[in-house]
């Protein structure tokens, strides 16, 4: 199986590569359009600021490529947010895969949310053998509100999308590669699709 992690200069991709290796698979890092198109599974990571990440995607023409992919694609954290219509962060237009706009947490809660939280209302093969209220690790200041494509929710002052799905596209606001055993199970579920 060919697993490609999209490498566009955003985020801690080493951790994802290692997590996949611990599960017994190999992933390659690439920003090459053909390589990504020919992969069996594509992981779209990202941490940092939305508008500068989108700029990097545009520079390498990945903004045109990603929405046309047909194999299973998993966006993680900012990767998931960039797959939405747009983000309040830097007033960024997104890839438009998930029909929802990313907004900032209110000032009533500590921002960023850093740490472990629980996921609920799980509805996707991505969460096979994952219990309701399982703990996952996340770090974020912006969130995707609940929408039709929500397949898991979390709560931090407000209920929001912990994961999204549309056709072959999946996105998790949390970091499966940093979410211990539960995260590994979710990654395995994705890699076995």
């Amino acid at each position: 199986m060919k697993i490609v992690i999209i490498n566009y200069g955003a985020g801690n991709i080493q951790s994802i590569k290692f997590a996949i290796k611990r599960l017994g698979y190999e992933a390659i890092l690439s920003h090459d359009v053909n390589e990504i198109r020919n992969a069996d599974k594509v992981i779209f990571p990202g941490v940092g600021e939305a508008s500068s990440a989108m700029k990097k995607l545009r520079e390498s023409h990945l903004d045109k490529l990603i929405p046309t992919l047909t194999q299973p694609v998993l966006g993680i954290c900012l990767g998931m947010q960039l797959m939405c219509n747009g983000s309040e962060e830097g007033n960024t237009k997104g890839l438009g895969i998930f029909d929802v706009d990313v907004v900032r947490f209110s000032k009533k809660v500590k921002v960023p949310q850093i740490g472990w939280n629980q996921i609920a209302k799980l509805k996707s093969v991505l969460f096979n053998d994952v219990d309701e209220k399982s703990h996952i690790y996340l770090v974020h200041s912006f969130y995707a509100p609940i929408c039709k494509q929500t397949i898991a929710t979390s709560s931090y002052g407000v209920d929001y999308s912990a994961a999204l799905m549309h056709d072959n596209f999946y996105g998790t606001q949390f970091h499966p590669e940093k979410s211990s055993d539960i995260g590994e199970r979710i990654l395995v579920n994705f890699l076995k699709m």
């Binding site: 801690n12 290692f18 611990r22 940092g48 500590k110 740490g115 770090v139 200041s141 970091h175 940093k178």
Partner: protein, 242 residues
Amino acid sequence: MDIKDGRTVKGVNFVDLRDAGDPVALAEIYSQEGADELVFLDISATEQKRKTLAELVYHVAEKVSIPFTVGGGISSVEDVDILLHNGADKVSINSSAVKNPQLINDLVAKFGSQCIVVAIDAKQIDGEWIVHLVGGKVPTERKLFEWAKEVEERGAGEILFTSMDHDGTKNGFANVALSKLSGELNIPIIASGGAGNIQHFTDTFKEGKADAALAASVFHFKEIKIKDLKEELRKEGIPVRI
């Protein structure tokens, strides 16, 4: 974990160093035992330091599936770049931020708030909390609460507050100062320094309003089991991952 020349050490009041093992092996054990996050603080001062630390980060990232923070002698955007690329989730800066506060803004602009932790060591002098450098040895002109506010305004994602008056004493965390920090700031505060028993953790969450608690020797020397600690916290109504 305090790291010196690639080994884990823990100082009592930051002076006497005792060896508590191999950091990668310890990291794996803590990850399995249920620690939520690990912090590595490099206190070595050799020329090889940067390379040794980057290698350590790489090996930890290879083995553990929970987040970890790395600090100690980080003073430039380039330093942070190397550590994040080797697999660190967050970096923590301390003296370099006090000497050059603009560094916080530069790091946040390049890497985002979420991975920039500012560590603050402070102790009370004549009733006033004063920021200290070099493991608590050198006092600065800065006052804790003002500095913490500035750190937040410059964009740091978290504050790791160590009370030098409590560190190594095992008498509990600095809950009064912590609670004030937590009330004045809108970013997460990690409590550090003073953990001696399970009750101290309960107190720092309830009284100190800490968002997270850090401890070293009570875990290194197996005085507290993480499992027991978390079960007790859950009984006390504090949300924890078990």
